[in-house]
Symmetry: none
Subunit: 309 residues, 5 copies
């Protein structure tokens, strides 16, 4: 498939990267209903590890089945499907080659005690990604956690291996932990900072949360206020996060968090689009709805990213 | 992209293979104008190594440029493009992700003396394939050569590594050397045998030559004659080669050799189609024509494989 | 390019070092407007990791773009450009071979809590430096931190690998942490001590902060006072730091910290020059100004180091 | 140093290559009196290994000393200096960083018997190149030799390692051995073929001999004659070799062989220039003259490549 | 012990070499009665492997005992003692630290058939040298043998390891084998060539045989005669061999071969001295005499090298 100019422009930002990685980014960018637009919708299904099965799947019991998610991503024409090893393997043969996959290689869980540290376990490898044909690895970092140094060192090492073998790297950059207040987790200064760090560690695709206009870091707050950085709207905040991702030279997708009303999801997408973001990573808001609803919502999101809604 | 039933059926024959390899086969089978039909046309450009540049490219001087071949394969809607490392690398960035590629990892040349043995040099690795994003490695064996044991052992080792890393293996199985007469090189018993050996060594895709009704091996000849194996037409011989490739459980593509008249190329394709073969691997007959002619011929071949011509 | 006598004299101090490392030092010393003088100005852009994007880039929004910094360093005729992996990679192809680069291989961040320890994460490797063509690795140590032992052991291991592979090592030696008072961070005894430790661990280039005449360590204070070590002026303190760097056998560059008035920057440079230091590493004071201002200031600094201002 | 547009254009042909390799190519292309023109003159001094010391150095006894060659290359403003390990090491410290070097990693010698096979010993490694700061490895292949398969496999393996570590690869492609007649060694069809093979194995710079209008391979001869490929002049033959090097996407330099009259050397250079070649690799014709003569000749060659003579 | 200027000058030729290697060379050059003069006498005892015990030791039965050789070398004030692993180990404890040793790491034997190829077995390792405290490894190459490529590749690999670990390398460069006539084994053109190759492969000390004025290689003969290279006396030939060893930048010691009259040994030494060679490696001519005779002869050789005889 011929890459569009828009996609070629995006790929050209990944200077000096192996053609193997660029091919994987191209495949994601050219796949599905947003193929060629430079926009992406990714389906992530790692909440079963993080929140447990009942909280994750039971709202839509069909979603207990891994095949459900593969099929949803394909039917909705999404760009990629991300999940931990066991879940991907459960459909890897049936759906081989039908949708780009992102192997989530580390995982959090809700059973850990308060003393355990905000950390994730490395639960898969680059070789696993190659074996099951995943085009990228996905890794979560927790900037602000006292475990952050270790997490940074893990992903840097894995990224090096992955890139050499033609596998792209997606970093979920979610600030939390000892250094972050509750409000700070979604503060705009913290979100932009999280994006910046992921970019500096070599992420090919960065996943951050949509943010509020809260400013957590006093030193940063001063700069935002004195220099009048526009953080008044979600679109403005998205734009600031794109600037913070090597001036938009890296693909950034935004997550919406827990299930909420459809209109709210659409508003988010419009803000992402208007702020120049690359798209949505949307899990619970899609698979916790029944399939018809989910397909309808995802279709609407495609329309929004295509500028038709 | 949703794999068709036909393609899913083909993939199901690769039992126990890694999803990574199946994904690569799926991408080739779903790509281009024959995408989803189970039929394939592959553009191979390794003749510069085997026959030298003038004999290879000069009939169509635009073809000295590696980009020409990438573009031809894309414009003609072919399934894949196969070439040695230097040639693939010369367009690896520009065309990253736009067409499945097969990295030819061993290479013959015409400068070797009669005493050198019928052999090929290993000129690239599985790691190279990963790095440049090639979906498969291609390896030539010469059954009948005194070097065959070495070649067999090389490809078996490389296939093992490739499959573990999600890279498919294409074996060019071309009988020649001390054990093979000139006529024997295209004899049907030898061709079917070459296909069988490639299949038994684990090839995912087998490339053999179209054959004549000559029978080289006396012991085999007896069986063909006594048991009345139909080798009277090219289609019958293609069918016999498919039977010899694990009863058609492996993808087999056929090569046509040196440049010849278009009608002859079409006849070959119809025979391949009618005999149940998977398609053509067509190099000199495409790129040694000027581009308009080549596109017209390849378009016609697509029609033939789609049963429309 | 023929190395000047001055540069050859400097290189001869790196006894027993691999020619590969010396070649990299030579390239930095011979590059740009100070080429051949034995003086250096280095542009470091790692503040995005340490302080976040808004505080770092927003004063001059063009500087969000990695290309801006490459171009600034080239246009100003600086000796080298230092940055973390993601930032260097974003221009590694466009600017390949056009300016010596220093890959910052560990990184601090401002999101870490007070309980996390004063540490940096290792965010790149010697192999990354080779792959992207960086002539040196840069590593920060925090003498005085409870994490210092770990940091020391990390850089010693990386330096060994780097030197064997012909890559130079720059150590940012910044005292801070449990063992250091606020005033002590810039105390002259502490700065000289930090330089000495970096030198003893094998740094090829040492980066320290300009210091005050404060003396933090009581035992040291006694010696400075009894023996009348001259620390009365910035130039005298620079000289003392050079003495502390193997009697000037190692290249030492000084940083100025946060953005301040141009005259103050010039005064610093004159003190560095007069004290026998090798130059400035100047980040925020250059790229947080608009480009014309920055070029004018850097031009003036070149003149100062050339003894013309 | 800012790369010229011409050099940037050349570098852009090395798609998907590591920035480290591109930086090394850039340094060679930007170095010396031809810096920035896209043309190169390289001084190779490996004849002492191949022909012995007396035949190599005695015509100009000063040239027994390794420093002589470094100094000659620097004084003449050449782009690079190529030699075996012992010779490079003998000046590696004195001249560190002053001229790009190419470490010749395999070596022939004239003491081998007729039964030994046309082969070269691997006499240095990629790690040696890194350690002494060489920007490239140089490797000779003998297409047509019965040892060619082994040589091909050696260089392919070394190139992979070198490129990953940011070291460029120069292939000396010299057809000789059992498959090649005496006249064939310099036949145009054989030379173009040798260039093609080097390119397909991933050479970044290709070194071949200037050729005659002889055609050695009968099958090739037919094509050259029927298709009227212009091989009537040296310039036309150079052009054909450039076409055969991925349509000029690879740097090709030409060697002149044994010492001869200066006018003949100039004529060669004009033909290389007019045929679009990248330059000369000129050993015995430079260092076997006394230094003044050599500098005068090399100066004239620079003028020729700059289009002024 | 303070190195003399003469020794420092010699060491300075080993540019870019590890200080560990230089220290070992310094220890040999500063040891014994010739310590500090830049001249060396080395006792090699590897003939038991090459010629068998009776031929080697029985002329002086005390020499069956390894301790005899250690003691001889110490008593005679030689610079170093070279032997295979078993022999060195037999005195390694008793004489630890008392005399520099060279571990001979490959060995020939006289039991091999004519069809076995002129080769030596690798019989010790760099790790063995470190373990027993040997300052250097010794390795024999046979230029001209059909096994030469393999031998070259072995020593190049071992030298790399040795130098990195601070162990010096001595190459015994003895032309013999399929490419060499009987007279050619000691021909001056062949000897100078052997020295050159050892130097180009990175030998720190080169050991060759004294040569005759025979010229074996026709192409070389022409040059020697046309250019009037002086090979008329042994001293002239030694000088030519020194020139051929990177213009005297490498230490070269000469061997005398089988036992002969003392006067002949002295004449050899005077020629080595007058031609600028670094000394003698003298085995059978010392230890096959009884100890008093040997000490007297070695004392006389010391006098010759000190210019007193």
């Amino acid at each position: 498939m011929r890459a569009t100019r828009t996609v070629q422009k995006i790929l050209s930002n990944y200077e000096g990267e192996t053609p193997g990685v660029k091919a994987k980014l191209c495949q994601m960018l050219m796949h599905g209903k947003l193929g060629g637009t430079g926009k992406m919708i990714i389906l992530p299904v790692d909440q079963g590890f993080e929140h447990g099965p009942a909280r994750t799947y039971n709202a839509n019991p069909a979603s207990y089945d891994p095949h459900y998610h593969y099929q949803l991503a394909i039917d909705a024409g999404l760009n990629a499907f991300a999940a931990p090893l066991g879940l991907l393997e459960a459909g890897a043969d049936t759906f081989a080659g039908q949708i780009p996959t992102i192997l989530k290689v580390n995982s959090a869980n809700s059973l850990m005690s308060g003393t355990a540290g905000k950390d994730q376990a490395v639960t898969a490898s680059v070789d696993d990604a190659l074996r099951i044909g995943a085009g990228a690895i996905g890794f979560t970092i927790y900037p602000g956690s006292d475990c952050a140094v270790d997490m940074f060192e893990e992903i840097v090492e894995m990224r090096k291996e992955a890139a050499a073998k033609g596998v792209a790297t997606v970093i979920w950059s979610y600030s939390r932990g000892e250094g972050i207040t509750k409000e700070g987790e979604t503060a705009i200064d913290v979100a932009a900072y999280a994006a910046q760090m992921a970019a500096l560690m070599g992420a090919h695709i960065i996943k951050i949360k949509l943010s509020t206009d809260h400013l957590m870091l006093p030193e940063a707050k001063k700069v935002y206020e004195e220099q009048g950085i526009d953080i008044s709207t979600q679109a403005a905040r998205v734009k600031h996060c794109m600037d913070s991702s090597l001036a938009g030279r890296r693909i950034v997708v935004f997550s919406g968090g827990a299930k909420k009303g459809a209109d709210s999801v659409y508003d988010d997408a419009r803000a992402i689009r208007d702020g120049g973001g690359n798209g949505s990573i949307i899990g619970r808001n899609s698979f916790q709805r029944d399939k018809a609803d989910a397909l309808s919502m995802l279709g609407k999101l495609v329309d929004i990213y295509r500028g038709k809604a």
